[in-house]
């Protein structure tokens, strides 16, 4: 058996370096600080300043061009009672759930299949990764055709099975399912690659031992693979939460309408209106930059909430 390197002992080279005084540190390492400064300077200019500014804007009424008018917390007060905002939160979470759970399942299946020896492994990896680097706009246009009522592939399939047509992009649930399917398709391959990387870190000895103890394939998967994949699974969950809660282009392009109608309305019954879509509508359709900024901070709080949930999940797993 291979020896496992002791990780708690730092490598000799690091241990031998004399500890520098913090006082002298900056003068000695200034060029290193300078070398990493571009990121922080750019972040300051294009990240932190706009974030601060949006907080400032959210306390005002502003049409984006004229003078700002102090509004105190009234934008937030309105946000709390704004049923449209809350329904957009609900839509986002529903679409996220409809997209994420099938996606994780499919990604895991794909990864396991890729992990068992197949030929042209790299070709498959490339093929599975491709949807992720394709423009969402292009995908949404294609999916618009796939889910179209009379000529869509999905309805053709349903009819071949003897079922009725569904007006996917014209019914509340149809819209949600269409958006979720699009997101699943886009992210399955990416996450399969991540799962695959995780699978490959599991030492073969464990499988060998399991086989010698008489475990079947299913037992091996649930008793060996899955527990060891937990950190990877959580990583994937966190990433999909962050991207899923920010879905915007998918519903926007899929449900966009004629020129004189709002492209941010999210289809009939606002079924596809996600949080970010609602933010866009308020800010850029209605020119209500103050309220738009408040909505953006509302989204921030929702994302924080989900992050805390995720973080708690990770914490608890760590204690096991």
């Amino acid at each position: 058996m291979a020896t496992v390197p002791a990780l708690d002992r730092p490598p000799a080279a690091v241990a031998d370096t004399p500890v520098t005084q913090p006082r002298k540190g900056f003068r000695k390492y200034w060029h290193l600080y300078a070398a990493i400064s571009p990121f922080y300077l750019l972040f300051l200019a294009f990240g932190l300043v706009p974030v601060g500014f949006s907080l400032y804007v959210s306390l005002h009424r502003w049409d984006g061009l004229g003078s700002m008018e102090w509004a105190g917390l009234s934008q937030y007060q309105y946000l709390l009672g704004d049923s449209d905002f809350w329904s957009s939160v609900g839509n986002t979470v529903l679409i996220w759930a409809l997209a994420t759970f099938p996606m994780i399942f499919l990604a895991m299946v794909t990864a396991v299949m890729l992990n068992s020896a197949v030929r042209f492994k790299n070709v498959y990896r490339f093929a599975y990764f491709l949807p992720n680097v394709t423009s969402v706009v292009a995908i949404a246009i294609v999916f618009g055709s796939v889910f179209s009522t009379n000529f869509g592939l999905v309805n053709a399939l349903l009819q071949a099975l003897g079922l009725d047509q569904v007006a996917w992009l014209n019914t509340p649930w149809g819209i949600k399912i269409a958006i979720a399917t699009l997101m699943t398709w886009q992210w399955t391959g990416y996450n399969a690659i991540i799962f695959l990387a995780g699978l490959q870190t599991i030492p073969g000895e464990l499988y060998e031992a399991a086989r010698m103890d008489g475990a079947g394939p299913a037992q091996t998967f649930f008793r060996v693979t899955l527990p060891l994949m937990r950190p990877v699974l959580l990583f994937v969950l966190v990433i999909s939460t962050v991207t899923g809660l920010q879905s915007f282009s998918e519903p926007q392009v899929l449900l966009q309408n004629t020129a004189n109608e709002s492209t941010f309305s999210g289809g009939p019954g606002h079924a596809g209106r996600t949080m970010v879509l609602y933010f866009f509508q308020q800010t850029f359709d209605n020119n209500d930059f103050g309220y738009g900024a408040a909505v953006a901070w509302g989204i921030f709080l929702v994302v924080i909430l989900f992050s805390i949930i995720n973080w708690r999940l990770v914490q608890r797993r760590g204690e096991d």
Binding site: H31, D63, L65, G66, Y78, Q256, E261, F284, N287
Partner: protein, 428 residues
């Protein structure tokens, strides 16, 4: 010479610092507008005719360097952001008609065209269009480019087969009220099953509102979307649904386009520019279409303006360019280049605009659009119209598509509007 790592690092840092400093220095010199010599014009794809712009570049090339920049994406938000940032603001900015209401309250960001002698051009332009470019305080912000008179497009053979009037003059005359128009829709569906007159109820609702002289919010910042003019449009849309003359297709989808192509949706209420959408969307229908007057009276949809921003250093020169770009002869060229319907009635008689159009079976479409453009009612467009019109349009869509109870939909729309009005400081 040996190149040490430290030396390389130093050289790299010095280079980066120099670039950053250089960037800062040039950043300080960012012009808010023109340098006087160059004249920057912002427009969007199809916003102005290319031939006319080329000619303008040659004509004014001796004194200014005219840079016409086509801006893609969400035009208004890009223009507003640039103006709010007070850097690289164009000298001449195109303004879309549907966005006018949101620019007009900030008229102080633009040069008042009256001060440059706009008044003497007034008589050449459509009066209602001219007035749309003027803010509440009388400042003239926008100089008219084009307009979008709405007409009734229909498929000749389908109407004939359904036993409906089919010659343009007869269609205009006999389908001149919503009642007769809807009646024709019922007849169409009876004679040719599976055929609908219009794609959705929103077409009826929005055109009926646009025909009038009032929208959703009036000059005194009062919500009027609950009044009779909107209610009438709403009831018309509900009736269209009840009488079964609208399809359940979504405009612009492959389903709708194929229905149009197969003659299952043989009729549309569209603006002059919709001819281009038809030609590119359903090219196979060439020759099948005709144009007639829409029921009751024409409405307007779209059409834009040119403005001079406060950042412009040479407003007089800019104004000279604008008035030349948009004179009747060049507007006629704009129609040929980009389908921009002229706002100068003098153009309508020009030969360029009176060419028979083979897509419309050789009809001279100007015979319909020209008179229509001159019959459009002047309406006040409030900056709050978008926010307060949307809930009503959304709810009528719910009636049309999801079959929501119209009474419930109307009361939902009204309560939503009242909430939004309160939030925006609009009285109700």
């Amino acid at each position: 010479m040996p190149l040490s790592r430290r030396g390389l690092l130093r050289a790299g840092l010095a280079g980066t610092a120099a670039t950053a400093l250089g960037g800062l220095a040039s950043g300080c010199a960012v012009p808010t507008g023109s340098t006087g010599r160059n004249m920057v014009l912002w427009y969007w794809d199809g916003g102005l005719g290319d031939t006319v712009l080329d000619k303008a570049r040659a004509r004014y090339g001796g004194s200014v360097d005219l840079q016409a920049i086509k801006i893609g994406g969400y035009y208004r938000s890009k223009l507003i952001t640039t103006m709010a940032g007070r850097a690289h603001v164009p000298d001449i900015a195109g303004l879309k008609g549907e966005d006018m209401a949101s620019y007009l309250p900030n008229a102080d960001q633009f040069v008042d065209l009256r001060t440059l002698g706009a008044e003497k051009y007034r008589s050449q332009y459509l009066p209602w269009k001219w007035d749309q470019g003027i803010a509440d305080d009388g400042t003239m912000v926008g100089f008219p480019i084009d307009c979008g008179p709405v007409a009734h497009f229909y498929q000749y053979a389908v109407f004939q087969k359904a036993g409906l009037p089919y010659e343009p003059d007869d269609v205009s005359k006999e389908l001149n009220t919503w009642e007769k128009f809807f009646g024709a829709g019922e007849r169409l569906r009876k004679r040719i099953p599976g055929t609908y007159l219009l794609s959705d109820v929103n077409v009826v609702f929005e055109n009926a509102v646009q025909q009038g002289s009032k929208r959703y919010v009036d000059k005194d910042r009062h919500f009027i979307g609950d009044q009779q003019h909107v209610r009438t449009a709403w009831d018309l849309a509900v009736e269209a649904k009840r009488r079964g003359i609208v399809s359940d297709l979504v405009t612009g989808t492959p389903d709708q386009l194929s229905a149009v192509q197969d003659g299952k949706l043989p009729s549309q209420l569209g603006a002059s520019w919709a001819t281009n959408d038809l030609k590119s969307g359903v090219p196979k229908t060439k020759g099948r279409w005709r144009v007639a007057d829409m029921p009751v009276r024409p409405s307007n949809n779209g059409g834009s303006f040119l403005s001079i921003t406060k950042a412009c250093r040479e407003p007089e020169r800019a104004f000279e360019i604008i008035t030349w770009l948009l004179d009747p002869a060049n507007q006629a060229q704009g129609f040929v280049d980009a389908g921009l319907f002229p706002s100068t009635p003098a153009s309508y008689g020009l030969r360029k605009l009176r060419e028979p159009d083979p897509f419309f079976g050789g009809q001279v479409t100007m015979d319909v659009f020209g008179p229509a453009a001159q019959k459009i009612a002047v309406a006040y467009n409030s900056p709050y119209d978008v926010a307060l019109g949307q809930p009503i349009k959304d709810e009528i869509k719910n009636v049309g598509v999801l079959g929501k109870d119209p009474k419930k939909a109307w009361s939902d729309a009204m309560s939503k509007c009242r909430r939004i009005a309160e939030h925006l400081g609009v009285s109700h």
